[in-house]
């Protein structure tokens, strides 16, 4: 997994609440058996007309936001299905950090597995960052995971919380499976105990 340490980039504002996984990546694009290539269909139905032409006023189609690396979004971002294609599409587009007042649980976890940092902040601070994002390409935000702070284009600093274990995994780009296999002895002990206690499982 790619590391996430410090990122300075353009933030795109998407204030709509309840942006769901069908909006992020419609199911017609879930038929690939690869993990890559979903970026061009990120937000497909909001981003393109049926004939494939771009919808001009969609934020990521505006010239100043085409190279966004941060998304500032409305409440309950990523609700809906468990499809990891959603974070795959986000990452493939080039977005590495999403900021909102809340995220759906499965989506939130999926982000960390793909080098994306989802940040939860109170409404007031999301509003502040949303305003900053609305300034366009000249307003570049900095997200520093180690220091757990976001710096707006005006130099204002917003602190954020992140789970210590997940932070470490992102900073080091660690592979979960490799880490868990190191604890295999504990799992084997558990399995031995369960074979006695709950043999029907």
């Amino acid at each position: 997994m790619e590391k996430f340490e410090k990122l300075t980039g353009i933030a795109a504002p998407m204030p709509l609440v309840n942006i769901d996984t069908d909006m992020i990546i419609p199911k017609v694009f879930l038929k690939s058996i690869a993990r890559t290539g979903f970026g061009k269909n990120l937000f497909d139905e909001m981003r393109y007309n049926r004939d494939g032409t771009e919808i001009e006023d969609f934020v990521l189609n505006k010239p100043q936001y085409r190279n966004s690396e941060i998304l500032v979004a409305g409440d309950n971002f990523g609700c809906g299905s468990s499809r990891e294609h959603a974070p795959w599409a986000i990452a493939d587009f080039g977005i590495k950090c999403v900021i909102s007042t809340s995220f759906a649980d499965i989506f939130f976890n999926n982000c960390f597995k793909n080098g994306i940092l989802p940040i939860v902040l109170p409404q007031e601070q999301v509003d502040l960052l949303m305003k900053d994002a609305e300034k366009g390409e000249n307003a570049r935000m900095t997200v520093d995971l180690e220091a757990q702070e976001i710096t707006t284009s005006d130099g204002e600093v917003v602190k954020f919380e992140v789970d210590a274990f997940k932070k470490q995994c992102l900073l080091e780009g660690l592979d979960d499976i490799g880490q868990t296999l190191q604890k295999q002895a504990a799992v084997q002990t558990y399995e031995g105990k369960m074979a006695q206690e709950r043999p029907w499982v």
Binding site: K31, S82, E84, A104, D105, V187
Partner: protein, 468 residues
């Protein structure tokens, strides 16, 4: 010992390792797998030279992509891309040696219907699947939730998940339900009350008389949509109804093992005085038959209501409601019972079980669906289909004018050929009314099976209480 919730008990029974910061390796008893969220996970194992840790605890079935029309064994019925995913699952199941129900097997169906039906899902288990509606299995008092593909790979490789514990939330439905009100109305009413983010960070335990009175089918409907309320999982404590459903299923324990299992299952309830971080209580008698008007499952109103005005809301919801109403082609103030329906879809992991079909048959028996109505009933599994045939329900459906399909996810998420066209309006028993969910620019109203049946007859969203 301090009193524990049902969730606390199941959690504690599955912690294989706990780190100092509370991050746990949670042992997984059952891993269900389908064709859309697993190919990349199996590929990951292959690339790393890893095996499936516990193939005996892993059950695979294709459901999302499969056509539901006769003759579907013919690969030509699937698009090339769908076929690649289904064939990939065939190949992966064989190569890694997991339990498998291929399309040709009568037991094939929606993974969340097959699991309980075959007795794979048992009380007190941990159950995961690369699918958000894994919450369904919580009806058995199993801790069940959806995971992403990276986590699917993690469970395949290690039979564990890296987890931190969620908070406890209690949703109590007191008293009795009124006639015409079903499990679907309960679960939608709860989401209407709490919002789609109301359960975020929590595991919900549903309890109260109205929940106890539900069959296993009804309980599965309630837990299925815990995810639409934002919760990691929904749970209902096992009881005699649960044991009666489980007993005799192909993979349920037998003989002495059954007795041992039963002894443990009977300890799986929330202790008196256990702490809940959030409590929501609804009176069963206050719940009415409901319908969704918008594009979020929280956009719920009693069928007697009218389309709301976006200005009735606050914050970001004002813009979201405006967008929803425009997308849905509705007018604020319009009576919900005046909304005309083009299509009816009955099925899905929410409402694709035998009890749902009995409810539909009761409404449509001896009647005809409205002229020009496209109405489809898709059983949740081949065995549900067989049972409905045996009980004569299928004949009732065919005579009423419904298409009686083969098992699969079908138009719930429209990954197979069953889709809405642009502007087409559907009364659906499924779980999501998101933009484009049932087809590009398709319009979805979520309802109970009985309400969907009523809409098929009248051509409008209809108050089922007017027909009973």
């Amino acid at each position: 010992m301090s009193p524990k919730t049902l969730y606390d008990k199941i959690w504690d029974a599955h912690v294989a390792h706990e780190a100092e910061d509370g991050t746990c390796l949670l042992y997984i008893d059952r891993h269900l797998v389908h064709e859309v969220t697993s190919p990349q996970a199996f590929e990951g194992l292959r690339l790393a030279g890893r095996k499936v840790h516990a193939p005996d605890k892993t059950i695979a079935v294709p459901d999302h992509n499969v056509p539901t029309t006769a003759g579907r064994e013919d690969p030509a019925q699937m698009t090339a891309e769908s076929r690649i995913q289904v064939e990939a699952l065939d190949k992966n199941a064989k190569e890694f040696g997991v339990h498998y129900y291929p399309v040709s097997d009568v037991r094939q169906g929606i993974v969340h219907i097959v699991g309980p039906e075959q007795g794979w899902t048992l009380p007190g288990m941990t159950v995961v699947c690369g699918d958000s509606h894994t919450a369904t299995h919580g009806a058995f008092g199993a801790l069940a939730h959806g995971i992403g593909t990276s986590e699917v790979e993690h469970v395949l490789a290690t039979q564990t998940l890296i987890q931190k514990k969620s908070l406890n939330m209690k949703v109590e439905i007191t008293g009795k339900l009124k006639p015409g009100v079903t499990a679907k109305d309960i679960t939608l009413a709860v989401i209407g009350e709490t919002g789609t983010g109301g359960g975020t960070g929590y595991v919900i335990e549903y309890c109260g008389e109205a929940i106890r009175d539900l069959s296993m089918e009804g309980r599965m409907t309630v837990c299925n949509m815990a995810i639409e309320g934002g919760a990691r999982a929904g749970l209902i404590a096992p009881d005699e109804t649960t044991y009666a459903y489980v007993n005799g299923r192909p993979h349920a324990p037998k003989g002495a093992q059954w007795e041992a299992a039963l002894n443990w299952w009977k300890t799986l309830y929330t202790d008196e005085g256990a702490h809940f971080d959030k409590v929501v209580t609804l009176k069963g008698e206050d719940i009415q038959p409901v319908v969704t008007w918008g594009t979020s499952p929280e956009d719920v109103l009693p069928i007697s209501g009218v389309v709301p005005n976006p200005e009735d809301f606050t914050g970001g919801k004002v813009e979201a409601a405006r967008r929803s109403i425009e997308y849905m082609g509705l007018t604020p103030g319009q009576k919900l019972t005046d909304i005309e329906i083009d299509t009816v879809f009955i099925g899905s992991c929410t409402n694709g079980r035998i009890e749902d079909f009995r409810a539909v048959a009761e409404v449509v028996k001896g009647k005809k669906i409205k002229d020009g109505m496209r109405a489809m009933i898709v059983p949740g599994s081949g065995l549900v289909r067989a049972q409905a045939e045996e009980e004569g329900l299928a004949d009732i459906f065919r005579e009423a004018g419904f298409e009686w399909r083969l098992a699969g996810c079908s138009m719930c998420l429209a990954m197979n050929p069953d889709q809405l066209s642009e502007g087409e309006r559907c009364a659906a028993t499924s779980n999501r009314n998101f933009e484009g969910r049932q087809g590009y620019k398709g319009r979805t109203h979520l309802v109970s099976p009985a309400m969907a049946a009523a809409a098929a007859l009248t051509g409008k969203l209809t108050d089922i209480r007017d027909l009973i």
